[in-house]
Amino acid sequence: MGEYFTLFMSAVIVNNFVLTRFLGLCIFFGVSKNLNASVGMGMAVTSVMTLSSILAWVVYNFVLLPYNLVFLKTVVFVVLIASFVQLTEMIIKKHAPALYNMWGIYLVLIATNCIVLGVPLINAESNFNFTKSVVLAIGSGAGFALAIILMASLREKLQYADVPKSLDGLGIAFILAGMLALSFFGFSGMIPL
């Protein structure tokens, strides 16, 4: 139990995907202008990541490993995630239109994002068992949500600040992200992965 908790906390804070591994930066900057949208994005990434990790784990352990095709994992995972996101989009569109309107374009954005591909690849490389894979996926999703929500709250506050004109917009966002990453850097080494 303790092992899983450590893995989860490590994925959320110590080895936060966005702020210490610098994955998923495009959605991190693209969607963090608005707090509501970033909460939705955090939820979307977490759920897609968890489900696609489960799928990837099944394919990896029952197809790729037995046939010695481990080197194909990147290609296979890309195909898998893309089709899975498509499928999710269809199901959500049919059964939860309100949720679809909220997520809409973000779901498609996730389909091609490195953070979603990164977790199944790490799972495969570390030979994690099923539970560990799921825990890492949920933890990474929560870490992404934490980072993007922090960033969105900061950027919303920033609207009232007198930012120098040349730094306004993305420039100050990069500086902010750097400072956030620095503060997360303080956790590094607390839980070695």
Binding site: V76, L80, S83, M90, I91
Partner: protein
């Protein structure tokens, strides 16, 4: 052996996912109101977003499904499309004011003084990042054609003098160029306008004139000349209320006195570079000899 397995596994996975998606596509198909597609076919499909929606499809959906959305929001489509959309959706069409894009700058290569050379990325946004562009006038057209590239109707081109030219027959007034221009030097003007101010400089008179020989120098002669109060001076720049012109004025007196010919007839389809050359030279051959070298 391995290569055969690669083929088998990848083909197998591809087929499995393909069939799952195909199945899901049928199983989770959503019935869309067929009227949405009919309305979308009527729209010009420039995807310009002038209606305030993300694209033609989004507007078609909104106008069919929401009773409060007006059928005449499509500006490029003008009245013809508004009428059709209104007919299809059973709504009352409102009048669409036809408008056209106008470049509020006549500062050609020869007329506008440069503060530095620019050899970077040939794009106005990029040039604007470097000290606000190579012209001394920080309000004028940068002449790198970002607007030309943005035009969904191919109504714009660059003149040899380095200013964008708008083809009045193709311009639909969608306003896409207005939004991409980093200098906000392009504005939408109603087709009924009589005169236009061909300058965007908010500099004070002396500075504006030093930077460009055809700038509005805020001398207010046009304001005094107009009997209907249609011309006003805002931030050192003449602004014309073309509604007043269209309703009350028959001969534009404001044009005659302008020393730099910054205010001029709103004749459509004239290349900015050529028109001002002719008018400036005939009106005032001695007083506005370009003083570029002094700048």
């Amino acid at each position: 052996m391995t290569s055969i397995m690669i083929l088998v596994v990848l083909t197998g996975l591809g087929l499995v996912f393909g069939f799952i998606l195909a199945f899901a596509n049928r199983k989770f198909a959503i019935e869309v109101n067929p009227l949405i597609h009919i309305v979308e076919d009527v729209l010009p499909k420039g995807q310009c977003g002038a209606c305030g929606y993300a694209g033609c499809m989004a507007y078609a959906e909104a106008v069919v499904l929401k009773p409060e959305v007006s059928p005449s929001l499509c500006i490029p489509g003008k009245e013809a499309v508004a009428k059709l959309v209104a007919e299809l959706t059973g709504k009352a069409a409102e009048a669409v004011e036809p408008r056209i894009a106008r470049v509020k700058c006549a500062g050609t290569e020869a007329k506008a003084v440069k503060s530095h050379g620019y050899v970077g990325v040939q794009d106005c946004m990029a040039a604007n990042l470097l000290f606000g562009g190579p012209k001394v006038c920080k309000f004028g057209c940068l002449g790198l054609g970002t607007c030309v590239k943005s035009c969904p109707f191919k109504a714009m081109s660059m003149s040899p003098e380095g200013l964008p030219v708008i083809d009045p027959n193709k311009c639909t007034g969608c306003g896409k160029c207005e939004t991409v221009c980093p200098k906000q030097v392009i504005a939408m003007m109603p087709l009924t306008a009589h005169v236009r101010v061909n300058c965007n400089s908010k500099d004070k008179g002396a500075a504006a004139k030093k930077a460009c020989s055809v700038a509005c120098i805020a001398c207010t002669l046009c304001v005094k000349e107009c009997p209907y109060g249609a011309v006003k001076m805002e931030n050192n720049l003449a602004v014309v209320d073309s509604k007043v012109c269209a309703e009350q004025c028959s001969d534009a007196k404001c044009l005659a006195k302008c020393p730099t010919k910054a205010i001029r007839p709103a004749v459509l389809g004239i290349v900015p570079g050529t028109e001002d050359q002719a008018s400036v030279e005939t009106a005032c051959a001695s007083c506005v000899k370009p003083t570029n070298a002094v700048g």
